[in-house]
């Protein structure tokens, strides 16, 4: 029997607030072709609408400083 491989992909969207607070939003199954413009549009929407606020004192949302796509491949080794 061969090794069993599974792949999971996760997108980590880092959010930054004006009081210095940062928080990461984790999204499962990111699509393949995320563009910079999509992230800029999302950042603009968060800045305009202020739906998310800082954890400590409700500080305003600042920006999205980083977006990371993580692909994890797991191999369950066949040790039979």
């Amino acid at each position: 029997m061969a090794d069993t491989l599974t792949e999971t992909r996760t997108l980590k969207v880092e959010t930054y607030y004006v009081d210095g607070d940062t928080r990461v939003i984790t999204l499962k199954n990111p699509k393949n072709n995320i563009t910079t413009q999509e992230i800029i549009n999302l950042q603009t929407m968060l800045q305009t609408k202020q739906v998310l606020i800082g954890d400590r004192n409700g500080a305003a949302f600042g920006k999205i400083p980083k977006v990371t796509k993580i692909t994890e491949t797991r191999a369950n080794l066949d040790i039979s």
Partner: protein
């Protein structure tokens, strides 16, 4: 300040349920803004969100479910003038939920007015009035769904 947690449920390519949590949601943000954020985040993924998937907003202080979202539901003009002749008109409707519309609760028995709904570049109210249509009020209602509360608008028909 009480902050909220919001969850969006979607389905992945294998039809498995995927939940994304958003902490520290601004309690002063409107329901439609919350939904717009959730959909924008979901559009970065290959998960499928449909209107039957629930967004829950939970008050972190009391852990009670704040319930369904309140839709934005308004009409361009809520007072409509009957001209005394056959009249056929449209009024623009603004609605961000996923319910169905119906008209009812007329204040007179035989108003001489028919209402319908047309989706063409956005929802529109169709108004047809026959000669002899009388002043009255009625309601247009949007139904409650799994995600949205019911909503209604009162229309007033007047003569010139």
């Amino acid at each position: 300040m009480a902050k909220l947690t919001m969850q969006l449920k979607a389905k992945d390519a294998f039809d498995k349920s995927v939940t994304t949590s958003f902490t520290s949601v601004n309690p002063e943000a409107s329901d439609s803004d919350k939904l717009q954020l959730a959909k924008a985040m979901n559009s970065l993924t290959s998960n499928t969100y449909s209107s039957t998937d629930l967004i829950k907003t939970i008050n972190l202080d009391t852990e009670t479910d704040a319930g369904k979202l309140t839709p934005t539901f308004s009409i361009a003009h809520s007072t409509i003038t009957l001209t005394g002749q056959n009249m056929y008109a449209f009024e623009g409707i603004t609605y961000d939920g996923d319910g169905k519309f119906f008209a009812g609760d007329y204040s007179v028995d035989i108003p001489g007015i028919s209402l319908g709904f047309l989706n063409q570049g956005g929802w529109n109210l169709l108004i047809q009035a026959v000669p002899g249509a009388v002043p009255c009020t009625c309601k247009i209602m949007a139904t409650e769904t799994d995600t949205y509360k019911a909503a209604e608008i009162t229309l007033t028909f007047v003569t010139t």
